[in-house]
């Protein structure tokens, strides 16, 4: 068991949030509390980097949906980067692969917006 660690930093494109460890029933609340402190501007891209996430249960999925709602309300874009295979399988079953843009890693997620500009 590795505890959850969430770090945020600001890229040119918008906030980048990295989730490290296990996102489950016990600690998904931490992520949701942290989301409440993030400010998004319209047109920004909110990158959620999952490449070092080791586990994600349904509570974790709920927290990701909360992040999606946050971005939608702010008229910002949200993308998931480096989604682990297990989580990707769940996202496909519940249809969330359609509402999140997925990138193989954080760098490509940040770069692709720059290219669009």
């Amino acid at each position: 068991m590795s505890p959850l660690k969430v770090t945020t930093r600001d890229a040119e494109t918008g906030p980048v949030l990295e989730i490290v460890g296990e996102l489950d029933y016990a600690n998904a609340g931490e992520l949701r509390d942290l989301l409440a402190t993030i400010t998004l501007q319209p047109g920004q891209r909110f990158v959620v980097d999952l490449s070092r996430m080791e586990f994600c249960d349904s509570s974790g999925i709920t927290a990701l949906i909360a992040a999606h709602s946050l971005a939608q309300e702010a008229q910002a874009d949200i993308v998931l980067a480096g989604v682990p295979a297990n989580t990707l399988r769940i996202l496909r079953i519940v249809g969330l692969d359609q509402i999140f843009t997925l990138y193989p890693d954080r760098d490509s997620a940040v770069r692709s917006l720059d290219e669009r500009r």
Partner: protein, 429 residues
């Protein structure tokens, strides 16, 4: 404290001799005084109970004159009716037998009708030849002690009352919980002509209301609707969503039993109810209709999925596969959501199996990622192909039991089958 004997403890030091002598003199002088006004009552009676001697303390408590008592009353005359009875049945026999008795709680009558609780001890004085001569009795004032006991009794009564009230509250809550639980799941599935049905609900936590749901119900003369799903979260909040979901789907089906329409209605209801609440709630669900064809024994299935794992079709010929519904979104997270339909026809002996992810996400190893999974489920289901729904459900219950602690989520199972040609068809709950 009531002894009438001389107190003659030796002095502790010589320089206290003078005061000690005065002390001893005081005691010797006051033996009679001590008897009369001791802090307890003294009483001597003949063996028949006639009072021969009584001290002033006891007379004061009784409110009687010495002349009215000595030689004229028996000890039992001082007692209340209950006290007399107790004296005759217990006190006197024990005293005769043992020669002494101590600390018996009785009540004496006071003038004016009041009763005074006392503690009574008696010894029989014997003569030189061993014959009983008289009874010496001490009477202690037990009013304070009785008040204290009553206080204790009151306290105990209050505690018992509080306990009884708590138990009653608990029973009422359990009843309420049972009724609510029933509103989440059908007690039994209705008989569906031309279709066999079986269901099972595994509760991960007995005192926690469930978040999985299923139902089967008629929609018109020839079709039935069914659904099965999983609400996010656990506990009462999740159960409230489960209840809303179940009745929304049933009501939606009355209006329009098309599976996508039913899920679209549910999506709208959940999103409107919860999206702005700060506590977004959603569910996964499969909704479908069954249309049995009495002529061929086939059952036409038309279903839609919103974010739910694909259902399984177990064919009588042994082939088993998922009926994929990729792209259907969780119900309730967006104002409008895509739902994906699938259709199939069950031939006699085929079974459609719906399940929640408690089954596929049961842990099968130490690692949190060692989950039972879809491949294992497909292989297990293939082993059940050709069996009727209740047998498939029984096999799955065995599988769930085998997970032990690895099964930490609620799990709902629903099997719908076209009966194989043969003797019996039945609907198991």
């Amino acid at each position: 404290m009531c002894r009438t004997g001389h107190q003659s403890d030796p002095p502790e030091a010589d320089d206290e001799m003078a005061s000690d002598a005065a002390f001893t003199a005081l005691l010797e002088d006051s033996a009679e005084e001590l008897y009369e006004s001791a802090p307890c009552g003294y009483l001597s009676t003949l063996m028949d109970g006639t009072i021969a001697k009584v001290n002033a303390t006891l007379l004061g408590w009784l409110g009687l004159e010495r002349e009215a008592v000595v030689g004229r009353m028996r000890f039992t005359d001082l007692l209340t009716v209950g006290g007399k009875l107790y004296h005759e049945t217990h006190f006197a026999p024990l005293l005769r037998m043992q020669g002494r008795i101590s600390g018996i709680a009785l009540e004496v009558k006071q003038t004016g009708g009041a009763r005074m609780p006392v503690l009574v001890s008696s010894v029989v004085k014997h003569g030189s030849t061993g014959e009983p001569l008289l009874i010496r009795t001490t009477v202690f004032d037990a009013r304070d002690r009785r008040a204290y006991e009553e206080e204790l009794l009151r306290g105990r009564k209050a505690a018992e009352e509080a306990h009884r009230q708590a138990e009653a509250d608990r029973a009422r809550l359990q009843d309420a919980l049972a009724v609510l639980q029933q509103s989440l799941l059908p007690a039994t599935l209705p008989p569906v002509p031309g279709v066999e049905t079986a269901a099972h609900y595994h509760t991960a936590h007995p005192d926690r209301l469930g978040g999985d749901f299923y139902d089967v119900f008629p929609v018109d003369g020839k079709r039935f609707a069914f659904f099965l799903g999983d609400v996010c979260g656990k506990g009462p909040q999740a159960a409230a969503v489960t209840s809303l979901t179940r009745y929304t789907l049933r009501a939606a089906a009355v209006h329009d039993s098309d599976p996508v329409s039913a899920l679209t209605t549910l999506n709208k209801v959940l999103h409107e109810r919860y999206a702005g609440s700060g506590d977004p709630r959603y569910c996964t669900a499969v909704f479908g209709t069954l249309e049995p064809d009495p002529g061929t024994g086939q059952v036409a299935i038309h279903l839609a999925s919103g974010g739910h794992p694909p259902v399984l079709v177990l064919r009588a010929d042994g082939t088993t596969d998922f009926l994929p519904t990729p792209g259907g979104l969780l119900v309730g997270i967006l104002p409008s959501a895509p739902f994906v339909t699938a259709t199939t026809v069950l031939d006699p002996g085929d079974t459609l199996l719906l399940y929640t992810d408690g089954l596929t996400e049961a842990r099968t190893g130490e690692d949190r990622d060692s989950l039972y999974g879809y491949e294992a489920l497909l292989a297990f289901a293939a082993g059940q192909a050709g069996k009727p729904p209740h047998a498939v459900i029984q096999a799955l219950i065995g599988l769930l039991d085998g997970f032990g602690d690895g099964l930490d989520d609620d799990t709902a199972l629903l099997a719908l089958g076209a009966p194989a040609p043969g003797p019996a068809t039945k609907n198991a709950p």
